[in-house]
C-alpha cells in the first residue's frame, strides 16, 4: 500500500489536504482541513498523480473535512474526469451531500448553443470584400443624403428641431473658444518666432507680419481649428451616436419613423459647418495677436506697423481659400464622426473604438484635404 499526499508548500500549509491510500486497484482519498479556493488555488496535477493506470475504484472519506468552497469542487471535478478517462469507478458517497450536488451540477449538460463552423479562407476574403463594398456604398449613400437633405433644409423641409441645432452650435462654437484661443495664439507666436530668427538673418525682419498673416489665414488657422474640432467635437459626436446605438435609442428613432439623418446627423453637420468659418476667423485674429506679441518682444515691432504690413500682404484670395477650407473641414469632420458612430457595434468597447476612429480619420482626412486644396491652388495659380 502506498500513500500519496498534498505536496507541502507554503501556499498550501494551512489549506485543505488530501491523502490518497492506494491499495491494489482501489484508491481511498481522505480529505481534511479547510479548502479555500482564493487562498490555496487548485492543484492542477493532483488528478494525474492519484489516478494511475490500473486504478479501478476511487472512494472518499470526508470526516475530517472542514470548510470548503469551489476549490474542492474543482479538485473533485478533475478527479472525476480523470477517473472517467481511465475507466475507474468514482464512488462519491463518502463526500458531503452538497459537494455531490455541485459535482452533479457541474457535470450537467451545457446550455445548448449554436455551433459555428470555422469560416474557410476563401469565404473570409469574400465576406471582407463584400463588407468593404457595403461600406463604400454606405459612404456614397451618406454623401448623397447630405446633399438631398441639405437642400431640403434650405427649403425648410427637414424634420430637425431648431433647439437641437442651437445647442449643437453652442457646443461646437462658443464652448470651443478657450482651446481655440490658446492654440491659435501659440501657433501665431511660433510662426512669428521662426520669422524673427530666420528672416532677420536676411535683414527682412519686418516681413514677420507677412509670414504670420499668410501662414495663419491661408493654412494654420483653418487646419488647427479643424484638428481641434476633430478631436473635441468629432470624437464626442461618434461617442454619443455609438452609445445611442448600444442603448437601442437609434432603433427607437427608426421604429417611430423619425429620420435618423434629419434628427441626429443634420443638426450636428450644420452646426459644425456653420461654426467652423467663425472659429477660423477668430483663430486668424488671435493668431495674429499672438504673432504681434512675439514680434514686439523679439524685433520691437509696433502694433500699427505689424497690422499695416499684414494688411498689405493679405489678399481676398487668401481669405477665400481659408474660408472654403474651414467650411469643407467642418462638414467632413461631422459626416465622418456621425457615420462612424452609426456603424459602431453595440457594446461599451465599441464606443471607445468609434471615438478613436472618428478622431483619427478626422485628423488624417483634414490634413490630406488641406494638401489637396494647396495642390489645386498652386495649379490654378491662386
Amino acid at each position: 500500500m502506498t500513500v500519496l499526499q498534498t505536496p507541502k508548500s507554503p501556499m498550501t500549509a494551512k489549506g485543505g489536504v488530501w491523502t490518497a491510500s492506494v491499495d491494489g486497484s482501489t484508491v481511498s482519498i481522505a480529505l481534511s482541513g479547510d479548502w479555500v479556493a482564493r487562498r490555496d488555488g487548485v492543484e492542477f496535477d493532483a488528478a494525474v498523480k492519484i489516478i494511475r493506470p490500473g486504478v479501478s475504484l476511487v472512494a472518499f472519506d470526508a470526516v475530517k473535512l472542514g470548510h470548503w468552497d469551489s476549490g474542492l469542487i474543482a479538485f473533485l471535478f478533475n478527479l472525476r474526469r480523470a477517473a472517467a478517462q481511465t475507466g475507474a469507478a468514482f464512488q462519491d458517497d463518502g463526500l458531503p451531500a452538497p459537494a455531490r450536488r455541485l459535482l452533479k451540477l457541474a457535470e450537467g449538460p451545457a446550455e445548448p448553443r449554436p455551433a459555428v463552423p470555422p469560416t474557410p479562407l476563401l469565404e473570409r476574403v469574400g465576406l471582407r470584400a463584400m463588407a468593404l463594398w457595403t461600406e463604400s456604398v454606405d459612404a456614397a449613400a451618406l454623401c448623397g443624403n447630405v446633399l438631398l437633405r441639405g437642400a431640403a433644409t434650405l427649403r425648410g423641409r427637414a424634420s430637425m428641431r431648431t433647439r437641437d441645432l442651437v445647442s449643437e452650435m453652442f457646443d461646437a462654437g462658443l464652448a470651443a473658444l478657450p482651446i481655440v484661443t490658446l492654440v491659435s495664439a501659440l501657433v501665431g507666436g511660433i510662426l512669428a518666432f521662426i520669422g524673427a530668427t530666420e528672416l532677420s538673418k536676411l535683414g527682412a525682419g519686418s516681413y514677420v507680419a507677412n509670414l504670420v498673416a499668410i501662414g495663419m489665414v491661408r493654412e494654420m488657422a483653418a487646419m488647427m481649428t479643424a484638428i481641434i474640432m476633430a478631436g473635441r467635437t468629432g470624437g464626442a459626436y461618434a461617442a454619443t451616436v455609438s452609445a445611442m446605438q448600444g442603448a437601442e435609442e437609434i432603433d427607437a428613432l427608426r421604429a417611430i419613423g423619425i429620420s435618423v439623418f434629419d434628427y441626429l446627423i443634420l443638426p450636428r453637420m450644420l452646426a459644425l459647418t456653420a461654426m467652423m468659418p467663425i472659429l477660423y476667423l477668430y483663430s486668424c485674429g488671435v493668431g495674429m495677436v499672438g504673432g504681434l506679441c512675439v514680434g514686439a518682444a523679439t524685433l520691437k515691432v509696433t502694433a500699427v506697423s505689424f497690422f499695416v504690413q499684414a494688411q498689405r500682404a493679405l489678399t481676398g484670395a487668401e481669405l477665400a481659400i481659408g474660408l472654403t477650407k474651414s467650411l469643407c473641414f467642418g462638414a467632413f469632420i461631422a459626416i465622418v464622426a456621425c457615420s462612424v458612430g452609426l456603424r459602431a457595434d453595440r457594446s461599451a468597447t465599441a464606443v471607445g473604438k468609434a471615438a478613436t476612429k472618428a478622431v483619427v480619420v478626422g485628423i488624417v482626412g483634414v490634413i490630406t484635404l488641406d494638401a489637396v486644396f494647396d495642390l489645386c491652388a498652386s495649379v490654378l495659380g491662386v
Binding site: F44, I73, A74, R101, L102
Partner: protein, 253 residues
C-alpha cells in the same frame, strides 16, 4: 458549511434616498444565513435602491446594515471593500465587461483580488462556468450570448470569489418562463451546494413563490416596509390590500 440561525445580514431603521428625496424610510429586516430572501414591491418602490445600499453603491441617509454583526456603512472604505469581497452581485442586465471573453470576466476578480497562479484561476473560472452550464462558452464575447446565457455568465462571475452572500437584481427579468425556471433551479442548487445566503430583488411572482423562504415587501406610497414573510405566506395570509393585490396579480382595490 454549518448554517446557524443567527442573521447573516441585519437591516435596521434604514432610510435610502437621493438628494432630498426619501425613497424608503425606517426599513428593518434580517436575513437568516442560508436562506433565500426576497425584496419585493411594485415598480418604483425603491427595491433596487435598497439593494444598492446593501452592496455599497448608495450610502443610506439613516439606519444601519450589519453584515455578521459588523456595521457595514460605519466601516472604513478599505474595510468596506474587504466586506464587499464576500458579496457576489448579479446585475439586472448581467453587466458583463464587454471587452473581455466570458472566461476572462469570471477570472478578473481572481486575478485582481487574489494571489493565485494563472493555472488555478483558469481552473476555478472553468468550474464556475461548468456550474452554471456554460462550460463551452468561455471564449465567447458577452455580445454573442443570449439573454439567459448572459444571466448565467453574470452568475458565474458573481461566484468568482466564492461569496457567502449572493445578491441578485431581478434575475428572471427579460427571460422566457422556461429559461427563468431553469435559472431559479440553478440558484437553489448553488445555494444548497455552497450554503450561500441569497438576497434577491424581484417582482416575478412564480419565481418568488418557487425559491424564496423569507422576504420584505416595500410599499410605494407608504415609503416603508409594509409586510414581512415568505412570498407564499404573504400570498395566503397577508391582509394588506397592496400586498394582497400584488401577490395575486390583481388591480388594487
Amino acid at each position: 458549511m454549518a448554517s446557524s440561525t443567527r442573521p447573516k445580514l441585519q437591516v435596521e431603521g434604514l432610510t435610502v434616498g437621493f438628494g432630498g428625496t426619501i425613497i424608503q424610510q425606517d426599513v428593518s429586516f434580517s436575513v437568516t444565513a442560508g436562506s433565500v430572501f426576497a425584496i419585493m414591491g411594485s415598480s418604483g418602490s425603491g427595491k433596487s435602491s435598497l439593494m444598492r445600499a446593501m452592496i455599497g453603491l448608495l450610502r443610506p441617509m439613516a439606519g444601519s446594515i450589519r453584515v455578521e454583526d459588523e456595521d457595514y456603512w460605519a466601516a472604513t472604505e478599505a474595510r468596506r471593500a474587504q466586506i464587499d469581497q464576500g458579496f457576489g452581485v448579479l446585475f439586472q442586465s448581467g453587466a458583463l465587461w464587454s471587452s473581455m471573453t466570458v472566461a476572462e470576466n469570471v477570472a478578473l476578480p481572481l486575478h485582481l483580488l487574489s494571489a493565485l497562479d494563472d493555472a488555478s484561476i483558469r481552473q476555478l473560472a472553468e468550474i464556475k462556468l461548468s456550474l452554471v452550464g456554460l462550460e463551452g462558452a468561455g471564449d465567447d464575447m458577452p455580445a454573442e450570448l443570449s439573454g439567459g446565457m448572459v444571466k448565467r455568465a453574470g452568475l458565474a462571475r458573481a461566484l468568482a470569489l466564492d461569496p457567502e452572500i449572493l445578491m441578485l437584481d431581478e434575475p428572471s427579468s427579460g427571460l422566457d418562463p422556461i429559461t427563468a425556471r431553469r435559472l431559479d433551479d440553478l440558484i437553489l442548487e448553488l445555494r444548497d451546494g455552497f450554503g450561500m445566503t441569497i438576497v434577491l430583488v424581484s417582482h416575478d411572482l412564480p419565481s418568488l413563490f418557487a425559491i424564496c423562504d423569507d422576504g420584505v415587501f416595500l410599499g410605494a406610497e407608504s415609503r416603508t416596509a409594509i409586510a414581512h414573510g415568505a412570498p407564499r405566506q404573504l400570498r395566503d395570509d397577508c391582509n394588506d390590500p397592496t400586498v394582497h393585490a400584488f401577490m395575486r396579480r390583481q388591480r388594487p382595490q
